[in-house]
């Protein structure tokens, strides 16, 4: 069974079984992969495009630094747009001035997957997991919160770890604690890096 895990702090924790389309995070939708799960092979990275960069967004903004959105520069507005702290509508010149119409259309297209996806995603493929516990032990949050348990290689001694081995496979328990969530999130990939069978993956690749 494949599970997509919720990713954003502001959103409610939810588990989705992959019978529904995946949250699209890159420019290309991932929904076409649902019917062909074999394409989810990470080594080939088919269909998994890179996430949207602030620079791409900035190039399509007015670049006038008019501060009408409340930000000092258009670049910082682009950053906040991607972090979903600002909305495209906050940039009023883009909607009011006709010369930006083309750019607006392109921007809306570029940001479309971002607006649909309120979350970034962690995918756990239980079929590939052997329960080695590498992800549980390497997790820096686990090491900090439970140094005598998970930090030292044993099972968790705290009630709500992020990941836990249950019935021989990895299960996600408390996603909110992960360093990838929150305003100042860190794109940590420690668990994925130490999973040689690719049972743990992130949507961005």
């Amino acid at each position: 069974m494949k599970i997509i895990l919720p990713p954003h702090p502001t959103s409610i924790i939810q588990l989705l079984i992959i019978s529904k389309p995946l949250f699209p995070i890159g420019r290309g939708s991932l929904s076409h992969l649902v019917n062909r799960p074999e394409e989810l092979n990470i080594s080939e990275n088919k269909g998994l495009e890179m996430p949207i960069t602030p620079m791409e967004v900035y190039k399509l903004l007015p670049k006038t630094n008019c501060k009408k959105c409340g930000e000092q520069t258009c670049m910082s507005f682009a950053f906040k747009l991607i972090n979903r702290e600002k909305k495209l509508e906050d940039c009023t010149p883009l909607f009011e001035e006709k010369k930006y119409a083309g750019q607006l259309k392109e921007l809306q297209k570029l940001l479309e997957p971002l607006q649909e996806a309120t979350e970034t995603g962690l995918i756990v493929d239980e079929d590939l997991c052997v329960g080695c516990g590498n992800c549980v032990v390497v997790c820096p949050v686990h090491a900090a919160e439970d140094p005598k348990g998970m930090g030292s290689g044993f099972g968790p001694t705290i009630e709500d770890p992020i990941l836990r081995i249950e019935d021989g496979v990895v299960k996600v328990i408390e996603m909110m604690k992960c360093r990838r969530y929150g305003k100042n999130r860190v794109l940590c990939v420690a668990c994925r890096e130490n999973c040689p069978s690719d049972a743990i993956r992130f949507l961005e690749g």
Binding site: G131, V138, E166
Partner: protein, 403 residues
């Protein structure tokens, strides 16, 4: 199954932190959790395939063993030391052959360690001190899933508090890029070996200051070993079959490495209590396996599969093992022709060809006892629930019953 904590006897890691709560198994790997999950799929006592009462099966087994002329006892790797001791007593009483899986598993390395040819340490010391962690001819990710995360590469303990990124150096030597080799990233080295002997020679010539085969890798690894001071090599079946019985140069290599820094050797892993059986036999007889109590000696032709192949036995008492599954087909074909008494908790291929089947218990679930981890540390195992019969009590009754 009742809630509680137990020790997993799925492999020789003997993970002590398994939690069972609301019929869910926590912390065990896939292999270990399946033992707990499917523990109620047990075998019934039977004689020639027909279900009988436990006592009937036991009496029939005593009859068969008493009337046998050439008996071999085989298996014993998944039962506790206490039961193994009774099995050795039984072999002594019946002047039988006794052997376990170590003959074709890592028995050779255990013998070298017990004889003092290879320096060894414990996994707890590895956890708190080891810097270079060298897996040679083994893929622990698949065979001993929690080995890396619990004992060697990942845990932060003792002098190695900064974790795998800074305080450990992983080396994997294998013929292919195994799952474990995929973990080789920063601060790590993968050597794709064509010949294990050549790699041994490579290390030796590097230490002599010559550039032999694999000189780039060996030079770097030796430098890291000097830096780390405490290092460990885990040898697996790939190394055993790669060296093909010629251990002289390998022992010399470890000896020379120890002039540079502390380098220890631990066999990677095997059945839960294989090392226990080897240690018991070594203590009692001076050999670790393939032993005949008739000639009071050990020899390669006393290996269980050889005995079956050469028609040297008429009865086999198999305890906690499934040779019909693990031995080659032509051996199993011959095994079918002799009398088999099986003591095992679960249905298996061997139970289908056995004359008499006596159900026993699973260590860690319905029987306790002492087992020896792959590094030689004795672990006391408490049972989760009270079982009706244990391997020890069954073997004790057979020992008392046979003439």
């Amino acid at each position: 199954m009742p809630d509680g904590m137990s020790t997993c006897t799925g492999c020789s890691c003997l993970c002590p932190d398994i939690v069972i709560k609301d019929s869910k198994i926590f912390n065990a790997c896939r292999k270990g959790s399946s033992i707990f999950k499917h523990q109620d799929e047990r075998i019934e006592p039977s004689i020639e395939g027909k279900k009988v009462k436990f006592e009937e099966a036991l009496n029939k087994a005593i009859d068969i063993i008493s009337s046998s002329e050439k008996l071999a006892i085989f298996g014993l790797d998944t039962i506790p030391l206490e039961a193994q001791e009774v099995a050795i007593e039984l072999a002594k009483k019946r002047k039988a052959y006794i052997d376990d899986n170590s003959a074709f598993c890592l028995g050779d390395f255990i013998e070298l360690i017990l004889k003092g040819d290879l320096p060894t340490t414990t996994l707890d010391d590895v956890k708190s001190n080891a810097y270079v962690i060298f897996y040679w001819g083994t893929d622990p990710y698949n065979s001993l899933s929690r080995h890396l995360s619990m004992y060697t590469y990942y845990p932060r303990a003792g002098k190695r508090q900064r974790g795998y990124e800074e305080d450990r150096y992983l080396v994997v030597a294998d013929v292919r890029e195994s799952h474990t080799a995929k973990l080789v990233k920063k601060n790590a080295k993968f050597i794709k070996v064509e010949s294990d002997e050549a790699l041994v020679e490579g290390f030796l010539s590097s230490m002599e200051g010559k550039a032999g085969k694999y000189y780039e890798e060996t030079g770097r690894i030796l430098k890291e070993m000097q830096r780390g001071k405490f290092n460990v090599i885990f040898g697996g079946l790939g190394l055993k079959y790669g060296l093909n019985g010629k251990y002289g140069r390998f022992i010399e290599m470890i000896k020379k490495m120890n002039e540079l820094a502390e380098v220890y050797f631990i066999p990677a892993g095997f059945h839960a209590n294989m090392r226990g059986f080897n240690e018991l036999m070594f203590e009692k007889t001076g050999s670790i396996n393939r032993y005949s109590f008739e000639t009071e000696s050990s020899a390669p032709e006393y290996e269980f599969s050889e005995l079956v192949k050469n028609d040297s036995i008429d009865t086999a008492l198999i305890v906690g093992s499934d040779p019909a599954n693990s031995l080659p087909f032509d051996v199993v074909k011959k095994l079918k022709e002799i009398n088999i008494v099986l003591i095992d908790p679960k249905p298996s291929l061997t139970s289908k060809i056995a004359e008499v089947v006596i159900p026993s218990a699973i260590t860690g679930i319905d029987q306790g006892g002492t087992m020896v981890r792959s590094d030689g540390v004795r672990i006391k195992i408490e049972p989760l629930l009270e079982g009706e019969y244990t391997d020890e009590s069954i073997l004790q009754k057979i020992l008392e019953g046979v003439s």
